[in-house]
């Protein structure tokens, strides 16, 4: 049966453009502009999903995208708001949270036959005996819940964008539109954010008592100073007027100098038995259906009203051809409103001083019981039954004040208007206007909006003219009924539809002692569902106030935090910018078949070959360096230029060693400690000039080292300049007995051991490229570290590979390098040290310059050494060569103590045994001492302390 109105109603739909989609396998015809919900209602389908706990049938409540009753399932996405989601051809939609079929959910029995699950049920029922929750959890989770995540769905394209505005207006209703226009006229750049596809807010669907705002939306739409974001949700306010706005697959980060909140008000449900039945809606939902979508909401309706808006709803229904069986006014003695005469003239029966005490029906409301109100929240036990398929309630509003609350402002409660309140200028750069402040009269909302726009312009130094006047009467009286809550002895009087919470659940929570609103929420879960209390907070506060004998103002509301509506992780991730750094020779490594690994933000070759032959390849690469010649890309090493008359003095302060007397043409090890004395970085300092050091730092550490250097000199004010030139240099380390033979023909320097000794530094050319050459020995062989401009890295790499061919040159990766340096007993900062390691613990006392007055960390090391060493890093081998090989972070154990841990361990193909570094107790650190390592599986492996380095103890090979 089609419920589409025949006349021209429906501002959002295009009657010329039918769109077909499926719901629960059934083909549904809708119109372009329909949401899933409006299209279904146009086909008289009201049950969209099943409720969270009791699997009760649920249908649209607000048609505003504010409630959880319309959450539906898409193939790739659960929990989609059906009253927001536009239909599209071929769209496949299903209901949620049912077993069997949506129409006949087997689990709905839990809500009809079985007893209702009281609040706290889970806490009390499933936690004993121990381990019981593990059994129950999957069952409970299967029963309770929302949609299903399709883990096979593909990641969509989501991105982000910054927006900038003088004024951001949130909400495109009358107040927001007039704020927007007023500010724009004063010259401000304005962005207007509105949830709906078309701006106008209530102007597009409500029946106003008086006042007009014709042409307002058109004026905004045609103003070039105004950017309108329709169909966009502002999900959060953050410091300095930073707004999060989600529209489609784009997440906007909006920076506004001023923010005007005109988010309106949310019509509130009434509480009575079976108030969750499909067909029970707030009055504005019926108006939205009629005016936005041209859908007749029902055939026979009962309207419950406690304000003029309800009378307007009755008239709208009447005009749309709905038989209005009765208008039930909760008030005994309501004074006539603007619509009273029209309602009477339309022949609509008005029943004053009555309420609906119960709705009837199984999957859809089929009738209601109307009973006299005999006390606050108390209906006469029997009443008149009226048949209907639609029940509209207009009993009041709660401000859509989420954004305001994000700023830290707490809502008040006005005992005269029975409204939560927030209004006016809330803080610098943030104003509220319209019905979010309680201004329900159209003229008042428009005037408040104008004043907000004016105030924004004024604050930004524009000249907006005279301050617009705002009427004293906001129209906030007689809008909210003080107590639209009619608990039923038989229950099912829902306070919170999201969580299936009834009046009794709230009362029980309070009776259990959870009387503060935040505790009521946490114990009962009220307000925790997808609609975040938008339809439950007000009535919960009222119930709590009554049960605890306090004012609603005293009870207050729970803290509101972003996001206002669910944000998808994909939206938050956006394009997920993760910088990746490539060395200048990156594509050479790829060509050579390297298996790449991540090192900080860099990609580096782990080894050259297939992952399947990993161990073998690493071994071959290591042996190539020991016995022939190897080549490694060390471009990722940090590079810092330290220049100026105080360069040496500066290094003397930031590094542990002494540099003032370091000769030009020599390099020296650098070890950096932080203020606590812990090792944080190392490298070498090459003196290229009296006033110029080229300092290397670790791949992962250089940015922090650079920053720390600048920080120290911001205080010391030495005459020195530090520049981070890491990316400027391609670094290639050629190492092995044939290194000199390979390099010599390419280099203009005398590479002889005397002319260019170990730890020497020279500048020259390699393959015609200007180069800095360092004789360093990280891997313990004759070697040259060649630093050339990064743009020339490939040229030099290629030249070395070509020149080395006759010597069997072999590129080696990070893994072989780690093994080779371990054989030499060199530490890797961050692997063999931790956040507490000081140089004495790491066996690096030799790197401390004792004669200088100061270095960062020096005093702290001195203080620690007064207490004696707590642990020491030692080299070890295994007593039993066939024992399992310990791994990094396996513990060194002694009885019940854990004196240390393994930091590096590997089988050395050169030494043909297992070698490693470990922290042990100081009294275990003597050469020959034995200690136990607890390996995987708990077995203890005996290790023995041996001298370092393991390989070439006299360091002859690197000095060749």
């Amino acid at each position: 049966m089609t419920m589409r109105l025949a006349n021209g109603a429906g501002s959002l739909i295009d009657r010329e453009k039918p769109v077909a989609f499926t719901f629960e396998g059934q083909t549904i015809e809708g119109l372009e502009g329909d949401t899933v919900a409006s299209a279904l209602l146009a086909n008289d389908i009201w049950t969209l999903s099943r409720s969270f706990k009791y699997h009760r049938p649920r249908g649209p409540l607000t048609m505003a995208g504010h409630d959880a009753n319309t959450l539906v399932q898409l193939p790739d996405e659960p929990n989609v708001l059906a009253d927001r989601l536009p239909i599209a051809s071929g769209l496949t939609v299903k209901g949620q949270n049912y077993a069997g079929s949506l129409a006949r959910d087997r689990r709905s029995l839990i809500g009809t036959v079985g007893g209702f699950l009281p609040v706290g049920f889970y806490y009390r029922s499933f936690y004993k005996p121990r381990g019981a929750w593990k059994v129950w959890e999957p069952i409970v989770r299967d029963f309770a819940g929302l949609g299903r995540v399709n883990v096979d769905s593909r990641h969509g394209y989501y991105d982000k964008q910054y927006l900038f505005a003088d004024l951001a207006v949130v909400g495109g209703g009358p107040a927001g539109l007039s704020a927007t226009l007023e500010a724009s006229r004063a010259g401000l750049e304005v962005i207007l954010i509105d949830e709906m596809p078309a701006i106008g807010g209530a102007l597009n669907f409500a029946r106003f008592v008086n006042g007009h705002a014709d042409g307002l939306a058109d004026a905004v739409g045609s103003d070039p100073n105004i950017q309108v974001l329709s169909g966009a949700t502002c999900t959060g306010w953050f410091a300095d007027n930073w707004l999060a706005v989600v529209r489609g697959n784009r997440f906007y980060k909006l920076r506004a100098k001023q923010v005007a909140v005109a988010t309106g008000a949310i019509e509130q449900p009434m509480v009575f038995r079976n108030n969750d039945l499909p067909g029970v809606v707030v009055g504005s939902a019926a108006q939205r259906l009629i005016r936005l979508y041209g859908v007749k909401p029902g055939t026979r309706a009962v309207v419950v009203a406690a304000n003029a808006d309800g009378y307007g709803v009755a008239l709208d229904l009447h005009d749309a051809g709905v038989d209005v069986a009765a208008l039930v006014d909760l008030r005994h003695d309501a004074s006539p409103c603007h619509f009273s005469d029209q309602v009477r003239d339309a022949g609509i029966r008005v029943v004053a001083g009555h309420a609906v005490s119960e709705a009837h029906g199984r999957d859809r409301v089929t009738g209601v019981t109307v009973a006299a109100i005999v006390g606050e929240g108390d209906c006469a036990p029997s009443g008149e039954r009226i048949d209907c398929d639609l029940l509209c309630v207009s009993v009041g509003y709660a401000p859509a004040a989420g954004l305001i609350c994000h700023t830290g402002i707490k809502l008040g409660y006005d005992g005269d208007t029975h409204m939560f309140t927030a209004g006016g200028t809330l803080r610098d750069g943030l104003m509220a206007s319209g019905s979010v402040t309680g201004a329900h009269a159209l003229e008042a909302a428009l005037a408040q909006g104008r004043r907000a726009g004016w105030a924004a312009a004024k604050a930004l130094g524009a000249n907006p003219g005279a301050e617009p006047a705002v009427p004293n009467d906001l129209g906030n009286r007689g809008v909210n009924h003080p107590w639209p809550i009619f608990p039923h002895p038989k229950g099912r009087d829902f306070i919170d539809f999201d969580e299936d919470l009834t009046v009794r659940d709230i009362k029980n929570a309070i009776a259990d002692g959870y009387s503060e609103i935040e505790l009521v929420k946490r114990f009962s879960t009220v307000g925790m569902g997808p609609s975040q209390g938008r339809h439950s907070a007000l009535n919960t506060a009222r119930l709590t106030a009554k049960a605890t004998g306090r004012d609603v103002a005293k009870v207050g509301t729970t803290t509101v935090r972003p996001p206002l509506l669910p944000e998808k992780f994909a939206a938050l991730a956006g394009r997920a910018f993760t910088p990746e750094r490539l060395t200048p020779m990156h594509y050479r490594h790829k060509d050579l078949g390297a298996t790449m690994m991540v090192a900080g933000s860099w990609w580096r070759p782990a080894f050259y070959g297939d992952p399947a032959s990993r161990e073998e390849t690493i071994r071959e690469e290591a042996l190539a360096v020991r016995n022939g010649v190897g080549l490694i890309d060390v471009s990722t090493l940090g590079g810092l230029e330290v220049r100026g008359p105080d360069a040496a003095e500066f290094l003397n302060r930031v590094y542990t060693f002494a540099y003032t007397k370091q000769p030009v043409g020599r390099s020296r090890y650098v070890l950096m400690t932080d203020r606590t004395g812990a090792i944080v970085d190392d490298g070498v300092a090459c003196r290229l000039h009296d006033n110029h050091f080229y300092v290397t730092a670790t791949t992962g550490g250089v940015d922090a080292v650079y920053r720390q250097m600048l920080w120290w000199n911001a205080q010391w004010r030495l005459d020195v300049d530090v520049a981070n030139v890491t990316a400027a240099y391609a670094g290639i380390n050629i190492a092995g007995p044939y290194a000199r033979a390979v390099l010599a023909p390419l280099c203009d320097l005398d590479l002889g051991a005397e002319a260019f000794p170990y730890m020497g530094v020279r500048t020259g050319t390699v393959a015609g490229v200007p180069a800095r050459l360092l004789r360093v020995g990280f891997v313990g062989e004759l070697g040259y570290e060649i630093h050339v401009p990064s743009s020339c890295g490939e040229v030099v790499w290629d030249a070395l590979m070509a020149a080395g061919a006759e010597h069997g040159i072999r590129p080696f990766g990070v893994e072989a390098q780690r093994l080779l340096r371990l054989e030499k007993g060199h530490i890797i900062v961050g692997q063999d040290s931790d956040g507490l390691t000081h140089p004495y613990e790491a066996g690096m006392a030799w790197a401390i310059g004792r004669k200088k007055p100061f270095f960062v960390g020096g005093r702290s090391i001195e203080i620690q050494m007064k207490r004696g060493l707590a642990r020491k890093l030692v080299g070890f081998t295994l007593v039993d060569p066939n024992a399992p090989i310990p791994e990094e972070c396996h513990l060194v154990v002694r009885g019940k103590e854990i004196p240390g841990r393994v930091t590096s361990c590997s089988y050395s193909p050169t030494l043909e045994k297992v070698i490693g570094l470990a922290y042990v107790a100081p009294d275990q650190a003597e050469i020959g001492s034995e200690f136990d390592i607890k390996v995987d599986g708990g077995r203890l492996v005996k290790a023995v302390v041996v001298p370092l380095p393991f390989y070439d103890p006299d360091n002859q090979r690197q000095a060749m």
Binding site: R675, Y706, R707, L710, W711, Q715, R717, F854, R859, S860
Partner: protein, 89 residues
């Protein structure tokens, strides 16, 4: 936050560097004084002077921040506080 060199920027462009404290003389201070300098911050409820670094330019400056209102009151170059060269005799 407003960087004295680069103007107002997202806070994500900045790196925190701790409270501005004066280093005691490492040669004369007691162990306790030194430990206080290294490990303890005043963390007052009120106005605090802090180091901040604008990461894209590695520019260190000082911010005065009200920790109660989480409001940055003023930012200025470090030279306003650290005017003279520091030496360790």
């Amino acid at each position: 936050m407003t960087c004295p060199l680069n103007g107002p920027r997202n806070i994500s462009e900045f790196v925190y560097g701790g409270e501005v404290v004066t280093m005691p003389d490492p040669a004369r201070s007691t162990d306790a004084e030194w430990a206080d300098y290294v490990f303890l911050e005043e963390n007052p409820a009120g106005v605090v002077r802090e180091w901040w670094c604008h990461a894209p330019t590695s520019f260190w400056f000082i911010a005065e921040r009200d920790t109660v209102r989480d409001e940055i009151l003023r930012t200025y170059p470090a030279g306003e506080v650290f005017k003279d060269r520091i030496d360790f005799p």
